[in-house]
C-alpha cells in the first residue's frame, strides 16, 4: 500500500470514528479503562481479533506515528478475513533473533529517523555489545531490542512509565541479570543486580530521587552494553569522578594496576556494590593488597591523619562561628573563609587517589591554616567582650560613688528637716 492511500484510509477512519482519536493520546487514557474499539487508526482491524495487543499498542509511542501492526507483522490490517489479513507478506511473530534487524529496518534508516532527530547507530552499537556478539555467533538466548524496550508498548526513555526511564533501568536489566540461576547457567556474574541495589549509586537513584545517578547503562553502555576491562575502568568511573581520575592517573597505581591486570577503581571500591567512600578507610584499605605493617599502610594512615586533623580544625572553627553568632559578632567573612577551607579539604579526598602524602598534605594543611586563622580571629573578637566586663566594673565604681554621695545628701536632708 502506498503511503498516500494509507493516509487517506486513516483519515476516513478517523472521520468515521472520532471517539477513537482519544486513544491517540496514550497519556490521557490509561489502557483498559475504556472498552476496546473494533477499529482504530493505529491498529487497523487487527484489534478485532487481538484486543489485548491493540490496547497495549495504542499506549505506545509508535501508535502516535506512522507505525502500524503491519509495519512489523506484515499482512493486511484492512480485512477481517483471517486468510486475507494473514495473507501476502505476513510475518506473524518475528523470530527472537530477527528482532534487531527488524527494528533496524527503520531505526538505522537516517531518512526515516531524521525528522525525529533520533540517532541511527543503535543497531551498529548493538552488534558490538555482548548481547549482539553472542547473537551473531548464533546464540538466540540474548537480549534483543524488545527485551529492554518492550514489544507493543514501547515508550520513549523520557516517559517515567518506560522500561528504559533512568529509574527503571536497573529493574529492566535485572529481569535477566538479577536471575542468578539464569546468570550462573550463562556463566555470568550472578549478584550484579543485588549488589547494585545495595550501592551508593542505587541509594542516590532510588532513595534520594536523583535521576542523574548512574544506572547499569552509565558504566556498561546503552546499546553497546559490555563490561569494561582493566585499563578502561578509570575512564568509565572518570566520566563522573573527574578529579579522582586526574589524581589517580597521575599516581603510581594506574601503571602498576594495568601492568598487573588489576581493575583500577574496582580494586578498592568494588564494582557493583560501591559504598560511600568514607575517609577513614584510607587507614585500613591499603593493607588489603600491600599487607599489614607495609610502608603503604603507613602512607594510608598518614593521609587519614592529615585529613582528620584538618577536618577537626574546621569543625572547631565552625563551632566558634556558631558561638560568635549568638553574641552576635559579624561572621559573614569567616563563613566564606571556612567554605574555602572546606573546598580544600574536599579536594583532599580525590587527591588521595594519587597515593602521595605531599599532594594530600598540601591541601589539608591549607584547610587547616585557614581554619586556624578563622578560629584565632574569632577568639580575638570574643576576647574583646571581656572589655565589656571591665567597663562594667568601672561603671559600678561610679555608681557606688554616686550612691555614697546621695546617701550623704540624704542624711543631711534628714538632719535639716
Amino acid at each position: 500500500m502506498k503511503p498516500v492511500t494509507v493516509a487517506a484510509t486513516l483519515t476516513a477512519i478517523a472521520l468515521l470514528a472520532p471517539t477513537t482519536l482519544a486513544f491517540a493520546q496514550p497519556a490521557a487514557t490509561a489502557p483498559g479503562t475504556q472498552p476496546p474499539q473494533a477499529t482504530s487508526v493505529a491498529a487497523g482491524r487487527c484489534g478485532v481479533c487481538h484486543p489485548a495487543e491493540r490496547v497495549q499498542f495504542e499506549t505506545s509511542r509508535h501508535a502516535q506515528e506512522d507505525v502500524h501492526c503491519v509495519s512489523c507483522h506484515g499482512g493486511n490490517d484492512k480485512s477481517l478475513d483471517q486468510a486475507v489479513a494473514h495473507g501476502a507478506g505476513f510475518i506473524g511473530r518475528p523470530k527472537h533473533g530477527d528482532i534487531p534487524k527488524l527494528c533496524a529496518s527503520c531505526h538505522a534508516d537516517e531518512a526515516k529517523m531524521r525528522p525525529y532527530n533520533l540517532p541511527v547507530d543503535q543497531y551498529a552499537l548493538y552488534q558490538t555489545s555482548g548481547h549482539g556478539r553472542r547473537l551473531a555467533k548464533g546464540d538466540p538466548r540474548v537480549a534483543v531490542c524488545s527485551d529492554c524496550h518492550g514489544a507493543h508498548d514501547i515508550l520513549p526513555p523520557s516517559d517515567p512509565a518506560s522500561r528504559v526511564f533512568s529509574v527503571n533501568i536497573p529493574k529492566t536489566c535485572g529481569r535477566c541479570h538479577g536471575d542468578s540461576t539464569l546468570m550462573v547457567r550463562e556463566r555470568h556474574r550472578p549478584d550484579a543486580y543485588r549488589e547494585y541495589l545495595a550501592s551508593v549509586h542505587a541509594h542516590e537513584l532510588f532513595d534520594r530521587g536523583n535521576p542523574r545517578a548512574p544506572t547499569c547503562v552509565s558504566c556498561h553502555g546503552v546499546h553497546g552494553a559490555a563490561p569494561p576491562g582493566a585499563g578502561d575502568i578509570d575512564k568509565v568511573c572518570g566520566q563522573c569522578h573527574t578529579a579522582e581520575r586526574r589524581y589517580f592517573t597521575a599516581g603510581p597505581h594506574k601503571q602498576g594496576m594495568v601492568a598487573a591486570g588489576l581493575p583500577e577503581c574496582v580494586s578498592c571500591h568494588s564494582h557493583h556494590n560501591i559504598r560511600i567512600a568514607e575517609p577513614q578507610r584510607l587507614s585500613v584499605l591499603c593493607s588489603t593488597c600491600h599487607g599489614e605493617h607495609s610502608p603503604q599502610e603507613t602512607l594510608g594512615g598518614k593521609m587519614w591523619t592529615e585529613y582528620r586533623q584538618a577536618s577537626a580544625q574546621l569543625d572547631q572553627a565552625a563551632a566558634l562561628i556558631t558561638k560568635a553568632d549568638a553574641v552576635p559578632i559579624q561572621t559573614d567573612d569567616y563563613r566564606a573563609r571556612l567554605e574555602e577551607a572546606r573546598t580544600y579539604l574536599r579536594e583532599a579526598l580525590p587527591a588521595a587517589h594519587a597515593v602521595s602524602e605531599p599532594t594530600v598534605a598540601a591541601l589539608t594543611s591549607r584547610a587547616r591554616s585557614v581554619g586556624a586563622e578563622v578560629a584565632s580571629e574569632i577568639y580575638g573578637k570574643l576576647g574583646h567582650l571581656q572589655a565589656r566586663k571591665v567597663a562594667l566594673v568601672v561603671l559600678w565604681f561610679y555608681l557606688l560613688l554616686t550612691v555614697l554621695v546621695l546617701r550623704r545628701f540624704q542624711k543631711q536632708a534628714a538632719r535639716k528637716d
Binding site: 549568638a326 566586663k389 555608681l399 554616686t402 550612691v403 546621695l406 546617701r407 536632708a413 534628714a414
Partner: protein, 371 residues
C-alpha cells in the same frame, strides 16, 4: 503670683509660662503624692514640697508603682533608640535587629537594657499586684488602684509578648505562636483578637500590628493607667493604716534621695545583667521548621496548661480562664464579702492557694513542650 520672682532664667521663663503647671503635669505620673498649687511659683512649691513630711512607709517594697514608672521611662528611651533602626517587616525584622545589636555602637547595650528592663518591669508589676493583694489594698476606697494595677500588669505582659516577636527570632516566633493559640482559644475574646491582630497566622500583617501595639498603643495605655494610679493615690493617700507602728515621718527630700539611690542601684543591676547574662541571639524564624522545646512565655504557661491539658472542650476551658481573669479584676467587689476585715487571714490563705495553683499549672505547662 504671691511673690515677685528673682532675676535669672527661671524668672524669665516664669514670666512667660507657668512652670509649676508643667511640673505638676509631670509629677502626675509619679513621685509626688500630694496636690500641687499651680498658682504659686515653682521654686516656692518645690521648696515646700521638699520639706513636706512623708511617712517612712513609702519605702521598699511599697514603692513598686514608682519603680514601674522609672522602668517604663527607661523602656521608652531605649525603645525610641531601637525604633530608629528597626524595620517591622518579615523580611527585614531579623536583619535590622541584628544590625542594631551587632553593628551599631552600643546597640547591644541599648537592646539588652530594653530586654532586661522589660523583664524587670514584668516582675515589678506582677509582684506589685501580689503585694497589693497581700496588704488588702483593693478594698474601698482603693478599688481604682487595684483596677489600674491589674490593667498595668496586663499592658506590661502584652508589651512583653508583642515585643518578643518583633526580633523575629526563631524561639520568640514559636513562643508567640504558642501564646496566640491560648488567646485564640478564648471564647469571644479569641475571634476578636484574631480580627484585631490581622489573622491567626503570624505574617507581615500581624508583625506590623504587634509593632504598632508595642510602640504606640500599649505604652500610651500604660502611661494613662500610671497617671490614674497617682491621681487616685493623691486622693486616697498612702496605705499607711496597714502598718500602724510605722508612724515615723521623714521629709520628701530625703525620700527622693532614697528613690534616687534605688534607681541608681537598679540601673547598675540592669547593666550588669546586660553584660554578664546577655540574652543570646538566635537564628531567624522559619515558619516551616519548629525548633524543639518551644513553649509560650512564662506568664502564659498556666493558661497554656489549662487550654492544652485541661478536661473538656476548648471553649469551656477558655470560658474558665476568662472567668478567672474577671474574678481577679473584680476582686474589690467580692472579696470584702468573703473576708470582711482588711487583713483577714482567710483572704491571704486563699491568695496563697491560688498562687500555688498558678505555679503548679505553670510547671505543668513548661513540661508540656513535647506535645
Amino acid at each position: 503670683m504671691s511673690e515677685v520672682p528673682r532675676s535669672g532664667w527661671v524668672a524669665w521663663l516664669e514670666q512667660r509660662i507657668n512652670l509649676t503647671e508643667i511640673f505638676s503635669f509631670l509629677t502626675h505620673f509619679g513621685f509626688v503624692y500630694t496636690p500641687i498649687d499651680t498658682t504659686r511659683p515653682l521654686s516656692e512649691v518645690t521648696r515646700e514640697l521638699a520639706r513636706q513630711p512623708i511617712p517612712t512607709y513609702a519605702r521598699w517594697p511599697r514603692v513598686l508603682g514608682l519603680f514601674a514608672a522609672i522602668l517604663f521611662a527607661l523602656e521608652v528611651v531605649t525603645g525610641v533608640l531601637l525604633a530608629y533602626y528597626y524595620r517591622p517587616t518579615v523580611d527585614a525584622a531579623f536583619d535590622s535587629t541584628r544590625t542594631i545589636v551587632r553593628d551599631l555602637p552600643l546597640g547591644w547595650f541599648i537592646h539588652q537594657l530594653h530586654a532586661w528592663g522589660a523583664w524587670l518591669l514584668v516582675l515589678v508589676v506582677v509582684v506589685r499586684l501580689l503585694r497589693l493583694f497581700w496588704d488588702g489594698l483593693y478594698r474601698a476606697p482603693r478599688e481604682l488602684l487595684w483596677w489600674c494595677a491589674v490593667a498595668m500588669a496586663w499592658l506590661v505582659l502584652q508589651s512583653d509578648f508583642t515585643g518578643k516577636l518583633l526580633t523575629w527570632d526563631s524561639r520568640a516566633y514559636w513562643a508567640a505562636v504558642r501564646g496566640m493559640e491560648v488567646v485564640f482559644a478564648l471564647p469571644v475574646v479569641g475571634p476578636v483578637m484574631a480580627f484585631l491582630l490581622g489573622g491567626r497566622v503570624i505574617n507581615d500583617d500581624v508583625l506590623i500590628r504587634f509593632y504598632v501595639l508595642h510602640a504606640m498603643v500599649l505604652p500610651v495605655g500604660f502611661a494613662a493607667f500610671l497617671y490614674l494610679t497617682f491621681a487616685s493615690l493623691r486622693r486616697v493617700g498612702l496605705g499607711t493604716e496597714t502598718l500602724a507602728p510605722a508612724t515615723k515621718v521623714t521629709s520628701f527630700r530625703e525620700h527622693l534621695y532614697g528613690m534616687w539611690i534605688m534607681t541608681t542601684v537598679m540601673f547598675g543591676l540592669l547593666a550588669s545583667l546586660a553584660v554578664v547574662l546577655p540574652f543570646r541571639f538566635g537564628s531567624a524564624a522559619d515558619p516551616y521548621s519548629t525548633p524543639s522545646g518551644v513553649r509560650p512565655p512564662w506568664y502564659m504557661l498556666a493558661p497554656y496548661a489549662v487550654i492544652e491539658g485541661g478536661p473538656g472542650p476548648r471553649w469551656v476551658l477558655g470560658l474558665f480562664l476568662l472567668a478567672v481573669a474577671f474574678a481577679v479584676l473584680l476582686l474589690p467587689l467580692w472579696a470584702p464579702r468573703f473576708a470582711p476585715d482588711r487583713l483577714d487571714r482567710r483572704s491571704r490563705i486563699a491568695g496563697i492557694a491560688a498562687f500555688a495553683l498558678w505555679i503548679a499549672l505553670s510547671v505543668a505547662g513548661a513540661l508540656m513542650e513535647g506535645r
